[in-house]
């Protein structure tokens, strides 16, 4: 039993070390305390609501969020706007609908069931407006980047003057954390670019944290439910394991051998 545990642990440590060293290019990302990490991690409601504001006022002019609907904003585990608030938010967007009875397309105010309105009609239009680069959809962006939230958080604050010897083309910017250091997105945030309604001071650092939290939620809308269920499931399994262990000891004590 003990030998088994020991060997098992060794294998896991070896696998763990491999896993860590597998994480390609090691970059020291900026660190911050994420409320959603850990066994009981939850989203900071305020940060999600502020993050939504940053997304809408800044990011959404180029980046789509195609897998989210306005109803998600009022769902449990998310920014948890009230349903009335979410309805107002939805109605503030013009949604293309149709065709109507006359075969015409028309626009109407958004409803809770509508998907987030896309900034461009198609990929080509997005590229044409952004110097050939396609601003990626943000729905699962955090999960689609190696460094996850730390990467996005750092990238937003990683704009700098290029070091000597690096020349940048027109419309290309230097970013310490971008893969290859060249990015076609101009620094999106500057102090005070949004005005938070809850009185929080909108520094670049604050906005980066808020919008990254928001993006973590858009990528993992059920994260809170997952953590909650995970804790219960693991506690249940541990208790059951202990009970089964003693049952096993009892059963095996009928014959004189080591389990």
């Amino acid at each position: 039993m003990k030998v088994f545990c020991k060997k098992f642990t060794i294998i896991f440590i070896v696998l763990g070390v491999f896993n860590i060293s597998n994480a390609a290019e090691k970059v020291d990302y900026l660190k911050t305390d994420w409320s959603f990490k850990g066994l009981f991690g939850k989203f900071d409601r305020g940060a999600l609501q502020r993050g939504y504001q940053v997304y809408t006022e800044v990011c959404s002019s180029c980046h789509s969020m195609k897998y989210l609907s306005y109803r998600n904003l009022a769902e449990k585990g998310g920014p948890e706007f009230t349903e009335a608030q979410a309805k107002v938010i939805a109605a503030s967007f013009e949604v293309k609908d149709g065709p109507n009875a006359d075969g015409e397309m028309f626009t109407r105010p958004g409803k809770l069931s509508d998907k987030f309105v896309m900034p461009y009609d198609n990929v080509k239009a997005a590229q044409a407006a952004n110097g050939g680069a396609y601003p990626p959809d943000m729905s699962v962006l955090v999960k689609a980047r190696g460094g996850g939230v730390d990467y996005i958080y750092s990238l937003l604050q990683g704009y700098d003057d290029p070091p000597e010897g690096i020349s940048l083309d027109e419309g290309v910017y230097y970013n310490k954390y971008m893969y290859g250091n060249k990015i076609k997105m101009a620094s999106p945030l500057s102090d005070g670019i949004v005005e938070y309604s809850d009185g929080t001071i909108a520094t670049v650092e604050q906005m980066s944290k808020d919008v990254t939290t928001f993006l973590m939620w858009t990528a993992e809308p059920h994260l809170e439910a997952r953590h909650k269920m995970g804790f219960k499931a693991i506690v249940y399994l541990i208790i059951l394991t202990v009970l089964v262990y003693f049952s096993m000891k009892k059963i095996w004590s009928r014959i004189e051998t080591e389990v």
Partner: protein
């Protein structure tokens, strides 16, 4: 099962059993004499059965919501993650379940290697096991393609392109596999079909695997033939059932940790980017469980020879019962083999590591040395070892391990002594 003369108690039971002896089968399975010295490395058979059933059940549920179409697959996966009730749970169990399945199967295979479970009279069990393993790799590879992310698409492109190495007909075969001139919708739909089919083939082979096991019975850590039933054996139920259950629960705790707390750590971030045939990812890497073979593939400079080397690395295992010339099963009594065994374990781990690294410079050199050693182990070391090695004398029975060398037996012996006192 011919040694079973089981008569059900009830009249109905007897009537049924005379027509279809399911009750005899159930009785055989519960009474099945199992060596009582099996250690926890033997619990992975049961764990693997659990893994297979978990994958089938979660897979069926996912298939009810998944859309196998190049334009909709990625979106349907996001639909499962967001809008399907507990869809995130089912998908994360399925995705991490594949990794847990391979973790368990590697432990299971290396247990066989250590205790010589592949040797006579268990060659057929072993060969069926190798076929199951091959099918598992095929199922896992095709399953990874289904979310239609960047790694899905480019992984499928790289692996299917391997067939183009076949002389003359290679290109034709690749086009045939793709159902077109590139990986596209026809490829996705056929991969989905096969991904749905293979687990049931595996299930059938698992039945054969267990059937073949129940003919000679389990090997055991001492590796000697034992009388069945005898004082060396215990009935499968309740002794082995409860022990397997305990081990399974420990395994499930690890499994649950991955599912609930780090569900994406074993995957690649690029697979959350929708497949784009015009953008190639910086590094195309397979899932971790295929990395050792990927390393072997890349360590050979010639494409065709690389493919042959990779396939041989798996198929060579099927010849293992004949490559290993030693009559002694358990490595406990083979001091030299034991050392080579651990070198092989390290070799495979190293191959897995370099498989994840770019194939250049030092990594490539290490991959080549490790590949060469892998084949050396099976083709040279094992056959020679059987003739050269001076083995430790075997005990006469597992309950009477007077000549046993391992600490396990020493403690068992001490305990027996204390019982006698």
């Amino acid at each position: 099962m011919s040694d079973h003369n089981y008569t059900p108690q009830s009249k109905v039971g007897k009537w049924f059993n005379d027509r279809l002896p399911l009750l005899t089968l159930a009785n055989h399975l519960t009474d099945y004499p199992t060596p009582k010295n099996l250690n926890y490395w033997w619990t992975f058979g049961g764990i693997l059965t659990f893994c297979l059933i978990t994958q089938i059940v979660t897979g069926l549920t996912l298939a009810m919501h998944y859309i196998a179409h190049a334009d909709m697959a990625f979106e349907s996966v996001e639909h499962i993650m967001r809008d399907v009730n507990y869809g995130w749970l089912i998908r994360y169990i399925h995705a991490n379940g594949a990794s847990m399945f391979f973790l368990a199967v590697y432990i299971h295979i290396f247990r066989s290697l250590f205790y010589g479970s592949y040797k006579s009279p268990r060659e057929i069990i072993w060969i069926i096991g190798i076929i199951i393993y091959l099918l598992m790799m095929a199922a896992a590879f095709m399953g990874y393609v289904l979310p239609w992310g960047q790694m899905s698409f480019w992984g499928a492109t790289v692996i299917t392109n391997l067939f183009s190495a076949i002389p003359l007909v290679g290109e034709g075969i690749v086009t045939w596999l793709w159902g077109g001139y590139s990986v596209d919708n026809p490829t996705l739909t056929r991969f989905f079909t096969l991904h749905y089919l293979i687990p049931f083939l595996i299930l059938g082979l698992v039945v054969l695997h267990i059937w073949a096991l129940h003919v000679p019975g389990n090997n055991n850590p001492v590796g000697i033939d034992i009388q069945k039933p005898s004082k060396d054996t215990v009935p499968f139920h309740p002794y082995i059932v409860i022990k397997d259950g305990f081990a399974l629960l420990m395994f499930m705790i690890v499994f649950a940790f991955f599912v609930f707390y780090t569900p994406n750590i074993l995957g690649h971030a690029d697979n959350y980017i929708e497949a784009d045939p015009l953008v190639t990812p910086a590094h195309i890497v397979p899932e971790w469980y295929l990395l050792p073979f990927y390393a072997i593939l890349r360590s050979v400079p010639d494409k065709l020879l690389g493919v042959i080397a990779m396939l041989s690395a798996i198929l060579i295992l099927a010849a293992l019962p004949w490559l290993d010339t030693s009559k002694i099963r358990s490595a406990v009594f083979r001091p030299l083999y034991r050392q080579f065994y651990w070198i092989l374990v390290a070799d495979v781990l190293i191959l897995g590591y370099v498989g994840a690294m770019p194939a250049e410079g030092l990594y490539l050199l290490i991959a080549r040395v490790a590949t060469a050693y892998y084949f050396l182990h099976f083709l040279v070391i094992l056959p020679l070892l059987g003739f050269r090695e001076k083995t430790i004398p075997l005990p006469l029975s597992i309950t009477d391990p007077v000549l046993g060398g391992s600490t396990n037996f020493a403690t068992a012996k001490n305990k027996e002594k204390s019982v006698i006192k």
